[in-house]
Symmetry: C2
Subunit: 406 residues, 2 copies
C-alpha cells in the first residue's frame, strides 16, 4: 500500500465525461489498496475565461479579488470530482486551498507556498477517504485566498506530496511523458522512461508544456518522485527522479528548441564600468527576462553587446535600448525576431567532453550558422536562424544517438 | 453616517453591466458617508445551472460537495463586484462565508446560521473599506463549506446586519417593494410604505417572491429594519419594521393568493384516537408540508377529513393516503388540484372584529364558494375554486379599502 498524490490538469477534467474518466483512474488506484490524494486543476479554458471577464471590467483588476475569482475554477472541479466519486460509492471529500492548509505568502496571482499543515489531509487519508484538493490555490496567514500562478496545480501537487511524504506524485496530463525532442518537429523522438530533476529544469521550453518548472524545483528539493503520464492512456509515462536512481546513461538526453526568442544588439558600446547596469536595469524594471548575453570586444575601448529576450517583449525592449544607447553613447541598436534557441541537455555531458564540438560540427555540416552560445553544466544552447529550427533539432537528435529504432 | 447592509439578488448581478450598476449604488451610499457592507447572490440562473450539472452526475449528489459547488456562484459575483468597485477607486474587499465567519450547523444545503463573529468585518468597515460578502454560504465548526438553502442570501444579509448592529438592511431586488396584492392580478394594488414583520411572515405566498421568509423571522427576532427596494429604480420601496414604528393603521394591509395548492379528502374516517397520527405521519415522513386541515363530524362515529398540500406533492400525497385509508378503514380518498388560497392579512385586524364577515360576505356576493377556512391572529385564509382567484383578490382588495386612488 502506497500513499499517492495524483494531479489532473485542465484537459483531463474538461467536461463531466472526462471527470468520470479521472474518477475511474482514482478508483482503480484506491482499489489497488493505495491511499489517494487528488490535486485538480480548473476545466481547460476556465481560468482564461475568468481572466477575460475580469479584464472586461478593468485591464488591471485588483489582484486580491482576481485570485478570489480564479479560485472558483478549481473549486468547481474539486466538487464535481468528489460528487462523481461518491456517486460511485467511493468515500471522497474535497478540500479548498485554505481547508488543506496550503499557506502561502500574500503575492496574489503568483504566491509561493510557505508551508502545508497536514493534519486535516492525514486524518482523512487515515480514514481511507479520497481527498480531492483544489490545486493552484492557497491562503495567506490572514486567511486571504491566493493563487500560485500559471501551472500552479503542478506545484500544489508536488508540495502536498512532499508535505505528506507521499511515495509518489503522479502528474496526469495530455501527453504521454517527456520526449527526447518535440515529436511534432522530430518524428524520431522517443519517450524517456526516466529523466533527472536537473535535466527537467534545463528543458524549460519543451518541459514547461508538460510540467511546471517551479514544481520540478520543489520535487528536487524534497526528493519527490514524479511520474508524468497520460490521463487518457494506461501506459507508463516518464519518471522524474534523482539522477542516482538507475538513470539511463545517455550523455545527451534530449534536444529542445524555443522559437519565442528575439535578439537585440547594441553596437559600439563604450567599454566603461557601470555600462552593463545602465543597459540591463531598465530591462529588468520593465519585467523583461533576459536569457543569453554575449559581448565582443572591439578595438578602441568599445564592445558590441547582444542579448536575447522573449519575442513578446521585443518591441518594448528595443524602445528601452534606443533611449539607453543615446545615454551611454552607443552607436546603434538593432535586433531580429526570426531566431530560435536549440539546446542539448543531459546530466551525462558533465563527464563527457566533446558534446559542444559534436553539436557545432553537426550544425556546421548543414550550413547552420550559430550566432550565440550559452552553456550550463548539463546544457548547451545555440541561437540560430529560426527557419533552420526543425532541421537543427533533427540532425542533433540523430547525432547524439537519440533516434528511436524503427 | 450610518452602517448599512445592502443585499443584491441574482437578477441585480446577472451580468457585468448590472454589477456595474450595483457598484454605482454602493458607491453612492458610501459617498454619502455611510459604511457599507454588501451581501451578494450568484448571477441569476447560476445556482440552477450548477445544480443541473451535479444532477447529471447523480440524481442525489452528495450534499457536502454540492454545497462546495454552489458556493462558487456567490464567490464569483463577490469577486467581480470587488474588482468593479476597486476599478472605480473605491476600497473594497470580498469575504467568503468562512472568511466573514458566518458559522452554521452542518445541515448541508439547508444550514442554519449559529453565530457570526464580526471582528474581521468590523476591522474592514472601520478602515472605511466596502466589504463584499458572498451570501448564501457559511461554514460549520469543522471548516466545511455550507449553504443556507433557497433564498439564503436574504438570511445572510439580515443575520449579518443583526450581528454588526447595522442601522438598516436594504434588500435590492427586481420589484419595487411590497404591494397590497399582486399587481398582475389586481391592477389597483399599491405599494406599501411600511409593513410589519408579522404581516410579512403571514404573506408567505406573495411575500416569499420578494423576501425569504426565514430572513423575516431573523429580522423580527433581532429587530433589524429591512428596506425592500428595486435595484433598477431610485424610489424608496417598503420598510419592513416592528409594528410600533408608525405603521399605517389599516386593519387589512394586503390580499394574497396562492394557486399552488391541492386538496385531499378522506371520507368516513373512523373517529378513534391515533387516527390523525396515522394519516399525517407518513405525509410528514415524505417531506410534504400540510397547510390547512378541517374535520367535519358525521353521525355514527365517523368524520370527513380534508387537508391541503403543495400542488407539486399532490400525486405523492394521494398515493400515501390510499394506503392509509385501507389501513384505518376510511371509505374513500379523493382530491382536487384546481383550488386556490386567498388570504387577507393585517396586524390591525387583531383589534377589529368583523374582518371575517366582510371577507365571507364579499366572496358570497360574487357567488364564490368557500371550501375551507383557516385563521391566524392577523390573517384569514379561504380555499376557493382556482378559476375565481383573480376576481376574489380584486373584490377583497376593494372591500378592505386598499385600492389605489387614480
Amino acid at each position: 500500500m502506497s500513499l499517492i498524490v495524483q494531479k489532473y490538469g485542465g484537459t483531463s477534467v474538461a467536461d463531466l465525461e472526462r471527470i468520470r474518466n479521472v474518477a475511474d483512474r482514482v478508483a482503480q488506484s484506491y482499489d489497488a489498496g493505495n491511499n489517494v490524494v487528488v490535486v485538480i486543476s480548473a476545466m481547460a479554458g476556465t481560468t482564461d475565461n475568468l481572466i477575460d471577464m475580469a479584464a472586461r471590467i478593468n485591464a488591471r483588476p485588483v489582484k486580491r479579488e482576481l485570485d478570489v475569482l480564479l479560485a472558483t475554477g478549481e473549486q468547481t472541479t474539486a466538487a464535481l470530482l468528489a460528487i462523481t466519486l461518491n456517486s460511485m460509492n467511493y468515500p471522497a471529500q474535497s478540500l479548498m486551498g485554505h481547508q488543506a492548509q496550503v499557506r502561502t505568502d500574500c503575492d496574489y496571482g503568483n504566491a509561493r507556498i510557505l508551508d502545508i499543515s497536514t493534519t486535516r489531509i492525514e486524518k482523512l487519508v487515515n480514514s481511507r477517504i479520497i481527498v480531492v484538493i483544489a490545486g493552484f490555490q492557497g491562503c495567506d496567514s490572514a486567511g486571504n485566498i491566493t493563487t500560485l500562478g500559471r501551472g500552479g496545480s503542478d506545484t500544489s501537487a508536488v508540495a502536498i506530496a512532499a508535505a505528506i511524504k507521499a511515495d509518489l506524485c503522479e502528474i496526469y496530463t495530455d501527453v504521454d511523458g517527456i520526449y527526447t525532442a518535440d515529436p511534432n518537429v522530430c518524428p524520431r523522438a522517443r519517450k524517456l522512461d526516466r529523466i533527472s530533476y536537473d535535466e527537467m529544469l534545463n528543458m524549460s521550453s519543451l518541459g514547461a508544456k508538460v510540467l511546471q518548472i517551479r514544481s520540478v524545483g520543489f520535487a528536487k528539493k524534497y526528493n519527490v518522485p514524479v511520474h508524468v503520464r497520460s490521463s487518457f492512456k494506461l501506459e507508463e509515462g516518464t519518471m522524474v527522479v534523482n539522477e542516482d536512481n538507475g538513470m539511463e546513461r545517455l550523455f545527451v538526453t534530449s534536444v529542445t528548441h524555443d522559437k519565442n526568442q528575439a535578439r537585440i544588439t547594441l553596437k559600439k558600446v563604450p567599454d566603461q564600468p557601470g555600462v552593463a547596469a545602465k543597459i540591463f536595469t531598465p530591462i529588468a524594471d520593465a519585467g523583461i527576462i533576459v536569457d543569453m548575453i554575449i559581448q565582443n570586444t572591439r578595438a578602441g575601448g568599445q564592445t558590441d553587446l547582444t542579448f536575447t529576450v522573449p519575442e513578446a517583449d521585443y518591441e518594448k525592449a528595443i524602445a528601452i535600448q534606443k533611449k539607453v544607447a543615446e545615454e551611454i553613447g552607443a552607436d546603434k541598436v538593432y535586433g531580429a525576431r526570426n531566431i530560435a534557441k536549440v539546446s542539448v541537455i543531459g546530466v551525462g555531458m558533465r563527464n563527457h567532453s566533446g558534446v559542444a564540438s559534436i553539436m557545432f560540427n553537426t550544425l556546421a555540416k548543414e550550413n547552420i550558422n550559430i550566432s550565440m552560445i550559452s552553456t550550463s553544466e548539463i546544457r548547451i544552447s545555440c541561437i540560430i536562424e529560426e527557419k533552420y529550427t526543425e532541421l537543427a533539432v533533427q540532425v542533433l537528435h540523430t547525432a547524439f544517438g537519440l533516434d528511436v529504432e524503427r
